[in-house]
C-alpha cells in the first residue's frame, strides 16, 4: 500500500491505496487551512506539516498519526531586530543526522531542528549572508523551497531560493556560496544574465544512484548538473519538450539518467500545453524526452501542477509517480509513467504531494 500526503488549500488529505487501484481518503487534518507541504520522516515515522493559517500565520505541526492530534512546533520565528516576519513555510526535509530536519520558507530562510521537528532555530549563515539585501522575490515570494542533503554527509547541503538560485554549503550550513554557473535567466536583460544570483529555480532533485547528478526545472529551461550543482547544462533546449516552463521534477532512484517533468505553457499562462495533460520523461540524461500520458486527460485539460505537487515511490519498472493539480485532481502511475489513472478528484487545489 502507498500512502500519499496531499497538501491543499483547505487541509491535508492522507490518501491510501495500491498503485493502479482507487485510493481512499484515510484522514484529513487542518480543515480550512492551507497546507503547503507535508512529509513523513521515514527514520522516525513522524509526520510534519507546514500550515499557513490565513488569520494566524505560518506554523509547522507534527504528529505520529496524521489522523490524530498534531503538536505545534516552536522556534520558527525571525529575530526581532530583523524587522521581518515569517511569511510562509514552503518545505520540510530530513537531514543526514539523527533528529536533523530542515524547513525552508519566505523570506529566503532556512530553519534547522535537532529533535525531529519539535523545536527549530534559524540558520544564521544563510540569513546573514551579505548579499541578502540584493535578493529579489519571485511571484511566490522570496521562497526557499528546495532542501537537498548529500547522502550520508550532514556537512554538504544544497538549497534553492526563488528568485535567487542554488546555494551550496560544505560545512553544515555555517557558510554558503551561490552556484548558478550555466543557468541562463532569459527573463533578465541580456547584459545582466551572467549575474551570480537572481535565478528563479523552480524544482530540483538529486539522483540517489549518482548523488553528484541533479536535474532542475528552471523558470525557463530544464538543466542537469553532473558535479553536485557546481555547474549546470541545459538539457531541454532543442528537444521535443513542448515548453521550457514548469515547476516540479522527479527522478527514478535506480536510474541516474532518468527524470520526469511536467511542462506548462510559459510564465503568463502556467497550464498544460494544448489542454493535454502529459508527464515528460528522459531516460538518457536529458538528450531526449518523450511524453507519458496514457490514462491522463488528453483534451480540454488546462491544469496547473505546482512545485511540490509531484513525487515518486519505488524505482525501476515499478516506479510509482503521483502528482496533483490545482484543479483538485491527483493522478498516479504504478509503472514508471507508462499508464496513469485518477487517484483522487474533487479535492481543494493541490499544493503538494508526497509519498509517505
Amino acid at each position: 500500500m502507498t500512502e500519499l500526503l496531499v497538501g491543499t488549500k483547505k487541509g491535508l488529505f492522507v490518501l491510501q491505496g495500491n498503485a493502479g487501484s482507487p485510493y481512499e481518503i484515510a484522514a484529513r487534518a487542518f480543515a480550512g487551512e492551507a497546507v503547503e507541504y507535508a512529509m513523513r520522516d521515514s527514520r522516525t515515522g513522524r509526520y510534519l506539516a507546514s500550515v499557513t493559517s490565513w488569520h494566524y500565520g505560518p506554523k509547522v505541526w507534527y504528529a505520529d498519526d496524521p489522523g490524530g492530534e498534531w503538536q505545534q512546533a516552536e522556534g520558527l520565528e525571525l529575530p526581532e531586530d530583523s524587522g521581518q516576519s515569517v511569511v510562509r513555510l514552503w518545505v520540510i526535509a530530513a537531514g543526514e543526522e539523527d533528529g536533523l530536519v530542515y524547513c525552508g520558507g519566505d523570506p529566503g530562510m532556512l530553519f534547522e531542528s535537532r529533535d525531529g521537528g519539535a523545536t527549530w532555530t534559524l540558520n544564521r549563515g544563510l540569513w546573514d549572508h551579505p548579499t541578502r539585501p540584493d535578493w529579489t522575490p519571485g511571484a511566490g515570494g522570496l521562497c526557499l523551497h528546495t532542501i537537498i542533503p548529500w547522502p550520508g554527509d550532514p556537512q554538504r547541503l544544497l538549497v534553492a531560493i526563488s528568485a535567487v538560485g542554488v546555494w551550496l554549503s560544505d560545512d553544515g550550513g555555517e557558510s554558503w556560496r551561490y552556484s548558478n554557473t550555466g543557468i541562463v535567466p532569459e527573463y533578465m536583460p541580456e547584459d545582466a544574465r551572467d549575474a551570480p544570483y537572481g535565478h528563479c529555480v523552480h524544482g530540483l532533485r538529486r539522483s540517489a544512484a549518482r548523488p553528484e547528478r541533479l536535474f532542475m526545472q528552471f523558470h525557463g529551461g530544464v538543466y542537469r548538473s553532473d558535479d553536485a550543482g557546481a555547474t549546470w547544462i541545459d538539457v531541454g533546449d532543442g528537444t521535443d519538450l513542448p515548453s521550457d516552463f514548469g515547476f516540479p521534477v522527479v527522478v527514478d532512484p535506480a536510474d541516474p539518467d532518468s527524470a520526469y517533468v511536467i511542462p506548462l505553457i510559459g510564465a503568463e499562462d502556467r497550464t498544460t500545453p494544448g489542454g493535454t495533460m502529459q508527464v515528460w520523461e528522459t531516460r538518457d540524461a536529458g538528450a531526449s524526452w518523450r511524453p507519458r500520458g496514457d490514462g491522463l486527460p488528453a483534451s480540454d485539460a488546462y491544469l496547473t501542477i505546482l512545485r511540490e505537487a509531484f513525487d515518486s515511490a519505488g524505482e525501476g519498472d515499478g516506479l510509482e509517480l503521483y502528482f496533483g493539480a490545482t484543479s483538485g485532481d491527483v493522478f498516479g502511475s504504478g509503472d514508471a509513467g507508462a499508464t496513469w489513472r485518477t487517484v483522487a478528484e474533487h479535492l481543494p487545489p493541490v499544493y503538494s504531494v508526497r509519498t509517505a
Binding site: K9, K10, G32, W54, H55, Y56, G57, K59, Q72, E77, L78, P79, E80, G83, Q84, S85, V86
Partner: protein, 87 residues
C-alpha cells in the same frame, strides 16, 4: 483589568473565551495574554509584535491598533477578519 473576549481557535489556546487581563495598551494586553497562555504565542502577534494582518482587535467596539490605550473596565475583542471571498 480589561475584559478580553476570544473566539475559536484562540479560546481553546487560552483555555477560555472570557479572560481578565492586565495592560495599558492593546499591545500590552496581547503580550500579557501570551505570557499567561504561551500556546497563543505567534497567533495574534507576529515576531515583530505586530497584530497579524488578518486579525482584528476592537476596544469597546472600536477598531484598535497596538498602541491604543486600554482602561481597566474596557472590553477587548480579538477576532479573525472576514475573508471576503478570498478563501
Amino acid at each position: 483589568m480589561a475584559h478580553v473576549r476570544l473566539r475559536a481557535p484562540l479560546k481553546e489556546l487560552a483555555g477560555g473565551s472570557d479572560l481578565e487581563v492586565d495592560g495599558g495598551t492593546v499591545l500590552q494586553v496581547l503580550e500579557a495574554l501570551e505570557r499567561a497562555h504561551p500556546a497563543m504565542s505567534g497567533w495574534v502577534l507576529d515576531e515583530q509584535r505586530r497584530i497579524r494582518v488578518h486579525v482584528n482587535v476592537y476596544v469597546n467596539g472600536q477598531p484598535a491598533e497596538e498602541g491604543d490605550g486600554v482602561g481597566p473596565a474596557d472590553r477587548v475583542h480579538v477576532l479573525p477578519s472576514i475573508t471576503g471571498g478570498e478563501r
